[in-house]
């Protein structure tokens, strides 16, 4: 322990982050785990013991030389890969535009998926279109996969008259019923155990519909993480439980979320097949999610996945990470940049080029810009108009009770 003052016993441990502002971050260079290290167990016959190595190792497909190899290679055709790249690029460009708008006051707050774009995109692409999505605030990207209109997303973020949740929640708290995308809630982790209930209902109804959910390394300290794993272990519903270990929970390093260093192996103790995957490797993420989906379809119950990655940006627009970490250390993260890695793979197989990439960037950029301009026609947080104040009182209950009605009349708007 560090900083121990006289009187405190050495057994009283207070961990800190391995590096802080002014330190040189060191993640050990490149991964020692390589694509091909780990077999792909039969998803149907497998039990949790068969995934011991997968929970302690790291599932990779994209190698340092940009090639794809190993048992876990999903063998996607170039068209699918380009679609994945396009969606990740769209998410990143969209996030960057929103952050710029946030700085001008057009929205109150924003959270980017920067460095973690592959997660929501690849994992959602591996699902059926009607599978339930229970996101944390760092998986809005799933909506791009299912084709949500960007104008509608921006209208929510800027809280204007076309916001489908009527300006009630902070930005990034999307809700999208047609996309089976459950309304995001700020209290962290609550979605994780709820997802298990949704999956139990699918099983009850005999429907082949899986549920996917994510929470962060920090949030895995919450009771909901353990409730979810345990109910999933007991009832074996078709659910895919992910912990996104991006190393940080605001300023708190993941070594305060666990005394060990591995999140995936926790699933083994619940007797759930458990995998640890490179979260910046689009192909590996796609592949493990397909594997989990096969298990769900076959009625084999839950799969638990640690998505190993790095939060490249600030926690949110309210956060200044230079106060608690070096600042540019994500640049030496061995997992690199998920977007670049898929792009480089596509180039290496001759299916893509820097020119095409530049063209696509420009195209998406202008689409995002056009969507933003369109959305602003309906107002923004800086200048309104907002959803009418009467929306404060509606949908609290199915019908408005007398006491709420009286208060609405008192406000007189």
């Amino acid at each position: 322990m560090s900083g121990n003052k006289e009187g405190a016993l050495d057994t009283y441990t207070v961990p800190t982050a391995p590096f802080r502002p002014g330190d040189e971050a060191d993640f050990g260079g490149s991964w020692k785990e390589q694509p091909g290290d780990l077999n792909r167990p039969d998803p149907i016959d497998c039990n949790s013991n068969d995934t011991y190595d997968h929970a302690h190792g790291l599932i990779r497909v994209l190698g340092d030389d940009n090639s794809a190899s190993g048992d876990w290679n999903p063998d996607l055709d170039a068209e699918e890969l380009i679609k994945g790249l396009e969606l990740m690029m769209r998410l990143r460009i969209f996030d960057d535009r929103m952050i710029k708008m946030q700085r001008t006051g057009k929205l109150s707050f924003y959270m980017r998926s920067f460095g973690e774009e592959a997660i929501a995109i690849a994992q959602t692409m591996a699902l059926d279109d009607t599978d339930w999505i229970f996101p944390s605030y760092r998986q809005p990207g799933a909506q791009f996969v299912r084709g949500r209109d960007m104008v509608s997303m921006i209208c929510h973020c800027i809280g204007n008259t076309e916001d489908n949740i009527r300006g009630r929640q902070m930005p990034v708290h999307y809700s999208w019923k047609e996309g089976y995308f459950i309304s995001i809630s700020s209290p962290v982790g609550t979605q994780f155990s709820q997802a298990v209930g949704v999956a139990m209902a699918s099983a009850y109804k005999g429907e082949d519909q899986a549920t996917i959910t994510w929470l962060g390394d920090g949030t895995s300290a919450q009771g909901d993480f353990h409730y979810g794993l345990n109910f999933a272990s007991v009832f074996k519903p078709p659910v895919i439980l992910n912990v996104v270990n991006n190393q940080w929970a605001i300023s708190t390093h993941r070594n305060l979320a666990t005394g060990g260093s591995n999140f995936a192996a926790r699933g083994l103790a619940y007797d759930i097949p458990s995998l640890r995957v490179d979260g910046n490797d689009f192909l590996a993420l796609y592949s493990v999610t397909k594997w989990a989906r096969e298990r769900a379809r076959a009625g084999k119950g839950a799969t638990y996945i640690e998505v190993y990655t790095y939060r490249a940006g600030a926690h949110s627009s309210s956060d200044d990470p230079s106060r608690y970490r070096p600042g540019d250390e994500f640049k030496c993260w061995p997992g690199g940049d998920p977007v670049d890695r898929l792009k480089n793979h596509l180039i290496s197989i001759g299916a893509w080029s820097e020119e095409k990439n530049a063209e696509l960037t420009e195209k998406i950029d202008s689409e995002v810009m056009a969507a933003y301009k369109e959305a602003c026609k309906f107002g923004d947080l800086a200048s309104g108009p907002y959803p009418p104040a009467s929306t404060i009182f509606t949908e609290v209950y199915e019908t408005v009770p007398w006491h709420v009605q009286e208060q609405r009349e008192e406000l007189g708007k």
Binding site: G3, G7, D163, R168, Q169, G218, A249, I250, Q407
Partner: protein, 336 residues
């Protein structure tokens, strides 16, 4: 005396508590190295060591339980819940455990926990960064409930809360961390030059269970706490009526004598709180006041509160009690 904003004065109270009592420990999400998302614990880990000021795993239920245990075993824990909206995972530990330990053990055990938490709206925080859950705790016997409103009482009340041998839930109006809030989002004053920004250095305690008469008057008693104290002040000014403004400061046990004396004098009463009306603490006060002051009342007691709805994001100024609504209510008490 030094001029401080509320973040600095809370920090000063914590610093002094750490200095004077080696059993004080401070923990919560991001409070250690970083110094808290609102900076209230800034510099304290560096100064006092990371065994005394440390980051907790992200688990409010765990934080409350750890505080229970530490307090039971001789320490004086001061836990931070990052937003009052996130106190609910800790609710069982607070309501069923921390609050009842002394009583259930026949006085054999107790735990002097202080739980600090920023509450209230006005920062565009939507449903889950804006709530005022004080009545969820005033309804729990065994807890003291304190609500500061300015830099001076923030320090004085926090010191007394930490020194109190009963568990205390200590609410901080986050909207007032850097300045008083008069209900106009476009006019954002700082604490600079405000009389209540003068805060003593070193040890400074204000007794719990005492209300503060902010402005004397004889036409109506206006009771508020937290950010609403300043909004009510503006409301009184707007009304042009010579009302008496009382900052309740401690909600449980509340300073009934001060309130009753004031209402007997004015014969009229308006209670203001940000939390929803139904089962809000205003209901408790209103009932108690009429029990004691019935024959002195010239008009019905009026509550000006948040609506019985979740706290909204874009339309929060239509939710938070405004100076206009308060002025209206004060005027109405004069009609009778």
């Amino acid at each position: 005396m030094t001029e401080m904003n509320m973040i600095q004065s809370l920090n000063s109270a914590l610093d002094n508590a750490l200095e004077t009592d080696k059993n004080v420990v401070i923990f919560g999400e991001d409070v250690g190295y970083f110094g808290g998302v609102f900076r209230v614990t800034d510099g304290l880990q560096e100064k006092h060591g990371d065994h005394r000021v440390f980051d907790a795993p992200l688990a409010e239920g765990g934080i409350a339980a750890i505080a229970f245990g530490m307090g039971l075993n001789g320490l004086r824990p001061v836990a931070e819940i990052q937003f009052a909206d996130y106190i609910f995972p800790a609710y069982d530990q607070i309501v069923n455990e921390i609050a009842k330990l002394r009583h259930r053990s026949g006085g054999e055990f107790s735990t002097p926990v202080t739980i600090r938490t920023p509450a209230g709206g006005g920062i565009k925080g939507g449903h889950h960064h804006s709530q005022s859950p004080e009545s969820q705790f005033t309804h729990t016997p065994g807890l003291k409930v304190v609500y500061c409103s300015n830099p001076n009482n923030a320090k004085g009340l926090l010191t007394s809360s930490i020194e109190c041998n009963d568990p205390v839930i200590f609410f901080e109006p986050k909207r007032c961390y850097r300045g008083p809030f008069y209900g106009d989002p476009h006019n954002v004053p700082t604490w600079k030059g405000h009389a209540k920004a003068d805060v003593p250095e070193g040890h400074y305690a204000i007794p719990l269970e005492k209300a503060d008469i902010v402005m004397e008057g004889d036409a109506c008693t206006v009771i508020a706490w937290g950010a609403m104290v300043h909004v009510a002040e503006q409301g009184i000014r707007n009304s042009g009526i010579n009302a008496e403004l009382i900052d309740l400061q401690t909600l449980v046990p509340w300073d009934r004598d001060t309130i009753v004396n004031s209402v007997r004098k004015t014969g009229r009463c308006v209670i203001v709180h940000e939390a929803p009306k139904t089962s809000g603490f205003g209901a408790e006060m209103s009932a108690s006041i009429q029990e004691r002051c019935f024959w002195h009342l010239e008009a019905p007691i009026i509550r000006v509160t948040g609506w019985d709805t979740p706290f909204p994001h874009t339309t929060e100024w239509d939710y938070i009690p405004s100076p206009e609504r308060i002025a209206e209510a004060i005027k109405k008490t004069q009609e009778a």
